[in-house]
Amino acid sequence: MAGSNKTNITPPRWLLAELTYKCPLQCPYCSNPLDYAKHSHEISTEDWKRVLSEARKMGAVQLGFSGGEPLTRQDLPELVQHARELGYYSNLITSGYGLTEAKIIELKEAGLDHIQVSIQASTQDLNDHIAGTESFHSKQEVARLVKKHGYPMVLCVVIHRENIHQMADILAMAEKLGADYLELANTQYYGWAHTNRDLLMPTQEQYQEAEKIAQDFKEKVAGKMKIYYVVPDFHEDRPKACMNGWGTTFLTIAPDGVALPCHSARELPGLDCPNVNDHSISDIWHESKAFNFFRGTEWMQEPCKSCDEKDKDFGGCRCQAYLLTGDMYKTDPVCSKSPDKHIITEAIESARQSALTGNEKPLIFRNSKNSKAY
């Protein structure tokens, strides 16, 4: 573990509250852990209120209510109200499934600032197939109601090989629904997406074509709609500056109260991620082994150690290094300076072959039955 300089620890700004792993959808690229079914315990309303209060006191200001599907928690309006009283900007990150107009109004009155609705595709067939649940029409209705009640509306579409050909239609759908922001989230290959990678990863040509369409559209709607484009990092030369640097900005609390430096970090070995039932948020942030593990640059190996870009991308993503090389200290293999770059090129080629041959195994959907196999 790095001997990080504790005087340089910045306070958390972003708190991701994963309220539950329960979800009515079964998206095969879900970022929840594969073995989420093992972590079914959920912390109480009072625990969450304490977490929100403590993190806010330290300086957290953006708050994401996420999951699973956060709407399955009956105490959501109570937590939203508590967050508003503390001065958070609250984001509800939802599938929209089961979100009624009455609930939208109740949450608004409780002080919710924004609702992000996910849609899986621009057509009903594909949306319902990917979501594993009939949900296309209810999602469209929710998007309309979110606008009607004066929330900023963010439409989030995760992009992968089964829907990337719909890019133009997805953009038109976002415009028609009146989205204020459109998040085009190229799939990041963790959790369930890692398992389904051969079936989900588009080819280089597909990315290029889709990005061109999105770029042209961005200019067309400038001033009306903002587009967040989550870069497909496997096709880049440099890794993403994951989490804006470990333990600098982001604090995730999992449904069972485990505090994580990023939402995938519980897959990393030996971090001993602390639980909010045992420690204060301040102790977790400043003192815990997990949050100090990859702080700073002391932990780095070559080629990161002597790289002049190490303060820019922090060596990339630790979870990706671990998933792909088995060594969480290594340079993110996405980087062209990484000796493991071949793993990325092989993954891209493997997905390409899978696409070309059409000889594909079925997607593994995210549900309790499949989770219990891990």
Partner: protein
Amino acid sequence: MSLNPEQKIQFSPMHRLQWEEAQQKDVILYPEGMVELNQSSAEILKLCDGTRNLDQLVADLEEKFATTGLKNDISGFLEVALGNGWIQQN
């Protein structure tokens, strides 16, 4: 899109302007994002309450800070603010 000097200027209802004690500065909050403001930008935005056009806003700020010649700086910032959707004119 550019600023209409005749029309009143209003802070966007899709954003929130808020003092952050931990950071000792004003910030603009919006879906999944935050912009940290310096003091002069914050002072300008706080007056964007739908009751003032550009000249009225300049006059009030010049009076508040007992100075003159702020118009270019203020209109330059407001153009940026408009482009970012932080303010609007109806």
